[in-house]
């Protein structure tokens, strides 16, 4: 059966036909898009509580009514993992919230996470029919989050059924979204899964990177708890390639390995003064604050508390860093970005929230030097003013320096957030892997299989810094392909 046929079957179920007819499309289109309930900007910029509070059931059902339940749901094309969006939304409209969560889980391993962190405005919501009618798109992300949260809070969270254990040992390197979703699917198929994690916490960027005010750890922990209940083993503080090698994994009887080691290496700009005290990567800053809990009196880990903080970059990591600085007490916290706001890769909601929290956004500026005091602490940054030129290969306008236009601004902390590179450890210690010039592992795009037949890879180690949903999709695709491959080998 084709995907189209499957969609049609579900769309033509009697309850759904009836629901669709219960309100006229024209009336559905006139409903205003829901506003997310948020904490007050002033209050939240002094605490770590989650900013978005979620929708109430009434709000969610009303928003669900806006969805026209299109015969050709273009929103699904915008979703990297093709979640059956109209089906889950119509369950919400019908008040079947647990049913909605179930639909989400057919495709997404981490809906509560994706509902919070996906760039919906560039994915599903960018393809919503309402936009063609000059209306605001259905709030698909809010609804996804609503259904997932409802399920979790209801106490009826379902533990997926697992097949009879087949005794085949599979190793997963890294416990970010790619590794977790792979582990979940393989556990369902009956494999004996061990996830190896270098850090002392499970969750990858979801734990050490994305702050509590955007993605509470509790939500990630629930997902991890489910995997544990499904029999997945986790081994923290174990670095594959260091603590144990590829050969050790073979000798220990692992028949397949999924590498999901992420893109954890911070990039620097290599400009003068970058090693001054007070200049650091966003990885260092966020790791100290999120993973090590620095900033809390009980924590042994220190973090510099800047009063005038500049964050260099325009992505989600930059937004997370600058908003964290604000929460830690910065009086002035600013984003310094070399292009215009239009080109910023961060989610629009994060930029909006940041502005509400008093973050300054300095676009078309690029740091060229940091200046320190006698003790080597950063005290100023020199910024080159930029203008937008012709679009480059990425389609974004290339920033060009305006000659002689240089500005100096006082700062006492600078957080460099200009991107990350793939973690080189696995590529350099697993002999025979094919690696691109960017250091990413080269895989077959449909199976995620690498040049070494028993090794599959996905997430940021394959894509460079990408997104949670893509990492999760890779994990699921790799699980399906590895399962098929192992079944053929074992039952020829």
């Amino acid at each position: 059966m084709t995907i189209e046929e499957q969609l049609t079957i579900r769309r033509t179920e009697p309850w759904r036909e009836e629901l669709r007819k219960s309100i006229k499309a024209k009336d559905r289109s006139t409903i205003e898009r829901v506003h997310m309930n948020e904490l007050d900007a002033e209050y939240r910029s002094h605490c770590n509580k989650e900013v978005n509070k979620g929708l109430t059931p009434q709000q969610a059902r009303k928003e669900a009514q806006r969805c026209l339940d299109c015969a050709k749901p273009t929103c699904m094309e915008g979703c990297p993992v093709n979640i059956n969006i109209p089906t889950f939304i119509k369950h919400i409209e019908a008040g079947e919230f647990l049913g909605a969560a179930k639909v989400l889980k057919e495709t997404s391993a981490l809906p509560a996470v994706c509902g919070r962190v996906c760039p919906q405005e560039k994915q599903c919501e960018a393809q919503c029919i309402h936009l063609k009618m000059k209306k605001e798109p259905v709030a698909i992300g809010y609804l996804e989050r609503f259904a997932a949260d409802y399920e979790r809070e209801s106490g009826h969270i379902s533990i997926p059924e697992t097949a009879q254990p087949n005794g085949i040992k599979i190793a997963v390197v890294g416990s970010g979204p790619a590794g977790l979703s792979f582990a979940g699917d393989m556990a369902k198929s009956g494999y004996d899964i061990t996830v190896f994690e270098a850090l002392h916490e499970i969750g990858g960027v979801l734990k050490y990177g994305i702050p509590e005010f955007r993605l509470p750890n509790e939500i990630v922990d629930v997902e991890i708890g489910i995997l544990r209940k499904m029999g997945v083993n986790f081994l923290t503080n174990c670095i594959v390639g260091k603590t144990i090698t590829y050969e050790d994994l073979h000798n220990d009887g692992f028949k397949g390995i999924f590498v999901a080691s992420g893109a954890g290496l911070p990039n620097f700009m290599n400009i003068p003064g970058e090693n001054l005290v007070g200049v650091m990567s966003s990885n260092e800053y966020l790791t100290r604050v999120n993973l090590m809990n620095a900033g809390h009196p009980e924590s042994d880990t220190p973090v510099l508390i800047g009063k005038k903080v500049a964050v260099i970059g325009g992505g989600n990591t930059a937004m997370d860093s600058v908003r964290t600085a604000r929460r830690l007490g910065a009086e002035r916290s600013m984003i310094v970005y070399r292009r215009s706001e239009e080109e910023m890769p961060a989610r629009i909601e994060e930029v909006k929230h940041a502005k509400e929290e008093g973050i300054e956004i300095l676009t078309l500026h690029n740091p060229i030097e940091y200046i320190g005091d006698e003790q080597g602490r950063v005290k100023q940054m020199r910024l080159q003013k930029m203008a937008l030129g012709e679009p480059d290969a990425s389609g974004r306008c290339r920033p060009v320096a305006i000659e002689g236009a240089i500005e100096t601004i006082d700062v006492d902390e600078v957080i460099v957030s200009i991107g990350v590179s793939p973690n080189p450890l696995i590529p350099s210690t697993f002999q025979g892997l094919k690696v691109s010039k960017w250091g990413t592992i080269i895989v077959n795009e449909s199976t995620m299989q690498s040049a070494l037949g028993d090794i599959y890879a996905g997430g940021d180690i394959v894509r460079g810094g990408a997104t949670v949903i893509l990492a999760m999709g890779d994990g699921r695709r790799a699980a399906a392909a590895m399962h098929e491959h192992l079944m053929i080998i074992n039952h020829p």
Binding site: A198, T236, E284, S299, P424
Partner: protein, 265 residues
């Protein structure tokens, strides 16, 4: 996991711990280090792996209590567990038979110097250790060093023990009396800076093991970065050992003081 199986005091504030860590014991080499964290709210701090027992599946750590986290570890007892222990990290020491090796250590550097002294001695080198301290009470690991080397020279700032003078005076006295093929130095950055300047004058290849501030220890954060030969390096993955003559010690000194005010609190 990571249970402490033996504990020995080398001095009032230097402790040797033998810890269960079978995977690390199997994979570690001289010069590697681990990151440890005590308790849920503990800090991640780097410690050199001083030795390993494959049969018992244990590694040895020698820790000098200098501040909050190192004191916490030194206070652990046999039967306690180290909450988190990860490694082996960093590049292994390049150990070969080169001839006469001078190992100069002081302060926090003496503990991590131990396994290196031992490895060079085992490789058949003539090993001369220079231990420096402010005063007699602060001289540590002297006995252990003697067992693993050909000679130990003690230098104290106040002359209360050994010879009065700085670590550099000790090293220079050796250079003046015999041929030195390699110098290894671990200690406070200021000490390594001066040892390096001295050996550069005499053109003696010198390795410094840099004890920078670290967080993850796996190359993920850049807290440990320093400049070597004009290029930024991450001590935890590219080091901890570097050609001392290429290291920008002034920058390192500055970076080490980053959290001084906070840690003092």
């Amino acid at each position: 996991m990571n249970k402490i199986v033996s504990k020995e005091y080398f001095s009032a504030n230097v402790v040797k711990l033998e810890v269960e860590a079978p995977l690390i014991a199997r994979s570690r080499k001289a010069g590697h280090f681990v990151i440890v964290k005590i308790g849920k709210n503990g800090e991640r701090i780097p410690l050199t792996i001083a030795g390993a027992d494959l049969g018992k599946g244990t590694i040895t750590l020698v820790i000098q209590a200098v501040g909050g986290s190192s004191k916490k570890i030194c206070a652990l007892n046999v039967g306690d567990e180290i909450t988190d222990l990860v490694g082996p990290l960093g590049q292994a020491t390049h150990i070969e038979k080169t001839g006469t090796v001078v190992c100069a250590g002081g302060g926090v550097g003496v503990a991590p110097l131990m396994p290196i002294v031992e490895a060079f001695h085992k490789a058949g080198n003539r090993v001369i250790v220079v231990l420096a301290a402010r005063t007699k009470e602060l001289v540590i690991l002297e006995e252990q060093m003697r067992v693993n080397s050909d000679e130990v020279i003690i230098m104290t700032d106040d002359g209360s023990y050994g010879t009065k003078g700085l670590v550099t005076d000790g090293v220079e006295s050796i250079i003046n009396r015999e041929r030195v093929d390699l110098c290894v130095t671990i200690g406070p950055a200021i000490m390594m800076k001066f040892v390096s300047a001295l050996t550069k004058k005499y053109d003696i290849p010198t390795v410094a093991s840099l004890n920078t501030i670290m967080v993850d220890g796996t190359g993920m954060c850049g807290a440990c970065r320093i400049t070597v030969g004009g290029k930024t390096k991450f001590v935890c993955v590219d080091g901890p050992e570097f050609d001392a003559h290429q290291v920008d010690f002034d920058e390192m000194l500055m970076r080490l003081s980053a959290y001084k005010d906070i840690e003092k609190k």
